[in-house]
Symmetry: C2
Subunit: 127 residues, 2 copies
DNA sequence: CGGGATCCAGTCGGATACTG
DNA sequence: CAGTATCCGACTGGATCCCG
Protein backbone atom coordinates (compact mmCIF):
# COMPACT_ATOMS: atom_id res chain seq x y z
CA UNK A 1 0.00 0.00 0.00
CA UNK A 2 2.66 2.42 0.93
CA UNK A 3 5.76 2.23 -1.15
CA UNK A 4 8.95 3.45 0.34
CA UNK A 5 9.08 6.12 -2.30
CA UNK A 6 5.70 6.81 -3.85
CA UNK A 7 6.91 9.91 -5.61
CA UNK A 8 10.03 11.97 -5.53
CA UNK A 9 10.10 15.19 -3.63
CA UNK A 10 10.26 17.49 -6.60
CA UNK A 11 11.19 21.15 -6.34
CA UNK A 12 7.61 22.03 -7.14
CA UNK A 13 6.37 20.09 -4.14
CA UNK A 14 9.00 21.52 -1.90
CA UNK A 15 8.17 25.02 -3.06
CA UNK A 16 4.50 24.58 -2.33
CA UNK A 17 5.11 23.12 1.10
CA UNK A 18 7.51 25.91 1.86
CA UNK A 19 5.01 28.57 0.90
CA UNK A 20 2.28 27.03 2.98
CA UNK A 21 4.04 25.51 5.97
CA UNK A 22 6.29 28.38 6.85
CA UNK A 23 6.48 30.10 10.18
CA UNK A 24 3.46 32.40 9.93
CA UNK A 25 1.32 30.54 7.45
CA UNK A 26 0.51 27.74 9.85
CA UNK A 27 -0.61 30.15 12.51
CA UNK A 28 -2.55 32.32 10.11
CA UNK A 29 -4.28 29.34 8.58
CA UNK A 30 -5.01 27.91 11.98
CA UNK A 31 -6.57 31.18 13.05
CA UNK A 32 -8.54 31.61 9.87
CA UNK A 33 -9.83 28.07 10.08
CA UNK A 34 -11.67 29.02 13.23
CA UNK A 35 -13.40 31.98 11.67
CA UNK A 36 -12.99 34.50 8.85
CA UNK A 37 -11.22 37.59 10.06
CA UNK A 38 -10.22 41.03 9.00
CA UNK A 39 -6.70 42.28 8.76
CA UNK A 40 -6.15 43.88 12.12
CA UNK A 41 -8.32 41.28 13.74
CA UNK A 42 -6.03 38.63 12.36
CA UNK A 43 -3.08 40.65 13.44
CA UNK A 44 -4.25 40.43 17.02
CA UNK A 45 -4.85 36.72 16.69
CA UNK A 46 -1.25 36.15 15.78
CA UNK A 47 0.46 38.33 18.36
CA UNK A 48 4.05 38.31 17.22
CA UNK A 49 3.40 38.99 13.55
CA UNK A 50 4.15 42.36 12.03
CA UNK A 51 2.02 44.04 9.42
CA UNK A 52 4.59 43.41 6.75
CA UNK A 53 4.93 39.72 7.46
CA UNK A 54 1.19 39.31 7.76
CA UNK A 55 0.62 41.02 4.45
CA UNK A 56 3.26 38.91 2.78
CA UNK A 57 1.88 35.74 4.30
CA UNK A 58 -1.68 36.53 3.28
CA UNK A 59 -0.61 37.42 -0.23
CA UNK A 60 1.31 34.21 -0.56
CA UNK A 61 -1.52 32.12 0.79
CA UNK A 62 -3.96 33.93 -1.45
CA UNK A 63 -1.78 33.38 -4.48
CA UNK A 64 -1.63 29.68 -3.73
CA UNK A 65 -5.40 29.54 -3.38
CA UNK A 66 -5.34 28.80 0.33
CA UNK A 67 -7.25 31.88 1.46
CA UNK A 68 -9.76 34.23 -0.13
CA UNK A 69 -9.71 37.97 0.15
CA UNK A 70 -13.08 39.69 0.13
CA UNK A 71 -13.70 43.40 0.03
CA UNK A 72 -16.66 44.05 2.29
CA UNK A 73 -17.00 47.80 2.24
CA UNK A 74 -15.40 50.61 0.32
CA UNK A 75 -15.70 53.41 2.78
CA UNK A 76 -13.40 52.84 5.70
CA UNK A 77 -12.22 49.80 3.79
CA UNK A 78 -13.03 46.45 5.29
CA UNK A 79 -11.35 43.33 4.06
CA UNK A 80 -12.24 39.84 5.12
CA UNK A 81 -9.95 36.87 4.85
CA UNK A 82 -11.21 33.33 4.95
CA UNK A 83 -9.84 29.93 4.16
CA UNK A 84 -10.79 28.63 0.75
CA UNK A 85 -12.01 25.14 0.01
CA UNK A 86 -8.52 24.32 -1.11
CA UNK A 87 -7.08 25.74 2.04
CA UNK A 88 -9.37 23.74 4.23
CA UNK A 89 -7.78 20.57 2.91
CA UNK A 90 -4.75 21.65 4.84
CA UNK A 91 -6.48 21.30 8.17
CA UNK A 92 -5.89 17.58 8.25
CA UNK A 93 -2.24 18.08 7.50
CA UNK A 94 -1.79 20.72 10.14
CA UNK A 95 -3.63 18.51 12.56
CA UNK A 96 -1.39 15.57 11.74
CA UNK A 97 1.67 17.74 12.11
CA UNK A 98 0.48 19.01 15.42
CA UNK A 99 -0.37 15.54 16.67
CA UNK A 100 3.00 14.23 15.62
CA UNK A 101 4.93 17.06 17.20
CA UNK A 102 2.96 16.64 20.39
CA UNK A 103 3.63 12.92 20.55
CA UNK A 104 7.35 13.13 19.94
CA UNK A 105 8.12 16.36 21.73
CA UNK A 106 9.17 14.68 24.98
CA UNK A 107 11.54 12.35 23.17
CA UNK A 108 12.87 15.24 21.16
CA UNK A 109 13.61 17.24 24.26
CA UNK A 110 15.37 14.26 25.76
CA UNK A 111 17.44 13.90 22.63
CA UNK A 112 18.27 17.58 22.71
CA UNK A 113 19.43 17.42 26.28
CA UNK A 114 21.56 14.39 25.50
CA UNK A 115 23.03 16.04 22.45
CA UNK A 116 23.78 19.29 24.21
CA UNK A 117 25.41 17.39 27.02
CA UNK A 118 27.31 14.81 25.00
CA UNK A 119 28.85 16.95 22.33
CA UNK A 120 30.20 20.19 23.70
CA UNK A 121 32.11 19.34 26.87
CA UNK A 122 33.24 22.90 26.79
CA UNK A 123 29.57 23.78 27.06
CA UNK A 124 27.99 27.04 25.97
CA UNK A 125 26.59 26.02 22.64
CA UNK A 126 22.91 26.53 23.27
CA UNK A 127 20.78 28.43 20.85
CA UNK B 1 -15.88 23.60 18.99
CA UNK B 2 -13.82 21.06 17.25
CA UNK B 3 -12.16 18.81 19.75
CA UNK B 4 -10.05 17.67 16.84
CA UNK B 5 -7.58 20.28 17.98
CA UNK B 6 -5.76 18.58 20.83
CA UNK B 7 -3.51 21.47 21.62
CA UNK B 8 -2.74 24.91 20.40
CA UNK B 9 0.16 25.52 18.11
CA UNK B 10 2.63 26.45 20.77
CA UNK B 11 6.02 27.97 20.01
CA UNK B 12 7.61 24.70 21.04
CA UNK B 13 5.64 22.82 18.42
CA UNK B 14 6.34 25.37 15.79
CA UNK B 15 10.02 25.30 16.61
CA UNK B 16 10.19 21.54 16.30
CA UNK B 17 8.32 21.52 13.02
CA UNK B 18 10.56 24.25 11.72
CA UNK B 19 13.69 22.35 12.59
CA UNK B 20 12.46 19.20 10.97
CA UNK B 21 10.36 20.35 8.03
CA UNK B 22 12.68 22.92 6.62
CA UNK B 23 14.01 23.04 3.10
CA UNK B 24 16.80 20.49 3.37
CA UNK B 25 15.61 18.35 6.25
CA UNK B 26 12.79 16.80 4.27
CA UNK B 27 15.09 15.79 1.46
CA UNK B 28 17.79 14.53 3.78
CA UNK B 29 15.32 12.51 5.79
CA UNK B 30 13.73 11.17 2.66
CA UNK B 31 17.10 10.07 1.37
CA UNK B 32 18.18 8.58 4.67
CA UNK B 33 14.93 6.69 4.99
CA UNK B 34 15.88 4.70 1.93
CA UNK B 35 19.23 3.66 3.32
CA UNK B 36 21.90 4.81 5.75
CA UNK B 37 24.48 6.93 4.03
CA UNK B 38 27.77 8.62 4.61
CA UNK B 39 28.37 12.31 4.33
CA UNK B 40 29.50 12.71 0.76
CA UNK B 41 27.18 9.96 -0.31
CA UNK B 42 24.33 11.92 1.14
CA UNK B 43 25.65 15.02 -0.47
CA UNK B 44 25.31 13.40 -3.87
CA UNK B 45 21.82 12.23 -3.02
CA UNK B 46 20.70 15.78 -2.41
CA UNK B 47 22.27 17.54 -5.37
CA UNK B 48 21.66 21.17 -4.60
CA UNK B 49 22.81 21.10 -1.00
CA UNK B 50 26.09 22.61 0.03
CA UNK B 51 28.34 21.05 2.63
CA UNK B 52 27.60 23.82 5.06
CA UNK B 53 23.87 23.42 4.80
CA UNK B 54 24.14 19.65 4.90
CA UNK B 55 26.26 19.76 8.02
CA UNK B 56 23.90 22.18 9.68
CA UNK B 57 20.89 20.11 8.69
CA UNK B 58 22.42 16.87 9.95
CA UNK B 59 23.44 18.47 13.21
CA UNK B 60 19.98 19.85 13.74
CA UNK B 61 18.31 16.56 12.90
CA UNK B 62 20.75 14.74 15.13
CA UNK B 63 20.10 17.12 17.98
CA UNK B 64 16.38 16.55 17.68
CA UNK B 65 16.91 12.81 17.70
CA UNK B 66 15.81 12.30 14.11
CA UNK B 67 19.06 10.83 12.81
CA UNK B 68 21.95 8.97 14.35
CA UNK B 69 25.58 9.62 13.61
CA UNK B 70 27.89 6.62 13.75
CA UNK B 71 31.64 6.67 13.47
CA UNK B 72 32.60 3.62 11.44
CA UNK B 73 36.33 3.95 11.03
CA UNK B 74 38.98 6.26 12.36
CA UNK B 75 41.53 6.12 9.63
CA UNK B 76 40.19 7.86 6.57
CA UNK B 77 37.26 8.74 8.80
CA UNK B 78 33.96 7.24 7.84
CA UNK B 79 30.71 8.49 9.30
CA UNK B 80 27.39 6.88 8.75
CA UNK B 81 24.09 8.65 9.14
CA UNK B 82 20.85 6.79 9.57
CA UNK B 83 17.34 7.66 10.62
CA UNK B 84 16.57 6.89 14.22
CA UNK B 85 13.45 5.18 15.47
CA UNK B 86 12.11 8.60 16.34
CA UNK B 87 12.97 9.91 12.92
CA UNK B 88 11.20 7.07 11.21
CA UNK B 89 7.94 8.25 12.73
CA UNK B 90 8.27 11.18 10.39
CA UNK B 91 7.93 9.06 7.31
CA UNK B 92 4.17 9.01 7.57
CA UNK B 93 4.11 12.77 7.94
CA UNK B 94 6.37 13.36 4.99
CA UNK B 95 4.30 10.91 3.03
CA UNK B 96 1.11 12.74 3.93
CA UNK B 97 2.68 16.04 3.05
CA UNK B 98 3.84 14.73 -0.25
CA UNK B 99 0.47 13.18 -1.03
CA UNK B 100 -1.30 16.40 -0.18
CA UNK B 101 0.98 18.58 -2.24
CA UNK B 102 0.62 16.23 -5.15
CA UNK B 103 -3.15 16.25 -4.97
CA UNK B 104 -3.53 19.99 -4.73
CA UNK B 105 -0.70 21.09 -6.94
CA UNK B 106 -2.85 21.47 -10.08
CA UNK B 107 -5.38 23.62 -8.23
CA UNK B 108 -2.60 25.63 -6.70
CA UNK B 109 -1.07 26.34 -10.06
CA UNK B 110 -4.45 27.38 -11.38
CA UNK B 111 -4.86 29.70 -8.42
CA UNK B 112 -1.43 31.13 -9.01
CA UNK B 113 -2.13 31.82 -12.64
CA UNK B 114 -5.42 33.48 -11.73
CA UNK B 115 -3.77 35.56 -9.06
CA UNK B 116 -0.93 36.65 -11.25
CA UNK B 117 -3.33 37.54 -14.01
CA UNK B 118 -6.02 39.24 -11.96
CA UNK B 119 -3.90 41.66 -10.07
CA UNK B 120 -1.52 43.56 -12.28
CA UNK B 121 -3.52 43.80 -15.50
CA UNK B 122 -2.25 47.32 -15.94
CA UNK B 123 1.25 46.10 -16.36
CA UNK B 124 2.67 43.30 -18.39
CA UNK B 125 5.33 42.28 -15.97
CA UNK B 126 6.78 39.70 -18.30
CA UNK B 127 10.41 40.28 -17.88
C1' DC C 1 -8.80 50.34 8.52
C1' DG C 2 -5.86 48.04 5.22
C1' DG C 3 -1.69 48.08 3.13
C1' DG C 4 2.16 49.91 0.00
C1' DA C 5 7.10 51.99 0.18
C1' DT C 6 11.26 52.48 2.29
C1' DC C 7 15.25 52.02 5.30
C1' DC C 8 17.99 49.09 7.83
C1' DA C 9 19.95 45.37 10.91
C1' DG C 10 20.29 40.60 11.44
C1' DT C 11 20.37 36.15 9.46
C1' DC C 12 20.89 32.56 5.84
C1' DG C 13 23.01 30.26 2.56
C1' DG C 14 26.77 29.71 -1.00
C1' DA C 15 31.68 29.59 -2.28
C1' DT C 16 36.24 28.96 -0.85
C1' DA C 17 40.09 27.47 1.90
C1' DC C 18 42.03 24.72 5.36
C1' DT C 19 42.44 20.71 8.90
C1' DG C 20 42.51 15.95 11.20
C1' DC D 1 36.56 11.60 3.91
C1' DA D 2 34.25 14.66 7.01
C1' DG D 3 34.06 18.30 8.50
C1' DT D 4 35.43 23.58 10.52
C1' DA D 5 36.29 28.51 9.61
C1' DT D 6 35.61 32.62 7.04
C1' DC D 7 34.04 36.01 3.85
C1' DC D 8 30.16 37.86 1.69
C1' DG D 9 25.96 38.70 -1.04
C1' DA D 10 21.01 37.85 -0.82
C1' DC D 11 17.06 37.57 1.43
C1' DT D 12 14.09 38.33 5.78
C1' DG D 13 11.81 40.65 9.00
C1' DG D 14 11.09 44.81 11.92
C1' DA D 15 10.11 49.82 12.34
C1' DT D 16 8.39 53.85 10.32
C1' DC D 17 5.87 56.93 7.28
C1' DC D 18 2.24 57.66 4.37
C1' DC D 19 -1.78 57.09 1.30
C1' DG D 20 -6.69 55.61 -0.12
Amino acid sequence: MHETTPAALTPAHRELLDQVLDKWSLQVLESLCERPQRFNELRRSVPAVTQKSLTATLRRLERNGMVERNLLSSRPVAVEYRVSALGSTLQDLVDALLAWSTSVLPDVETARAAFDGTGPDTASLSR
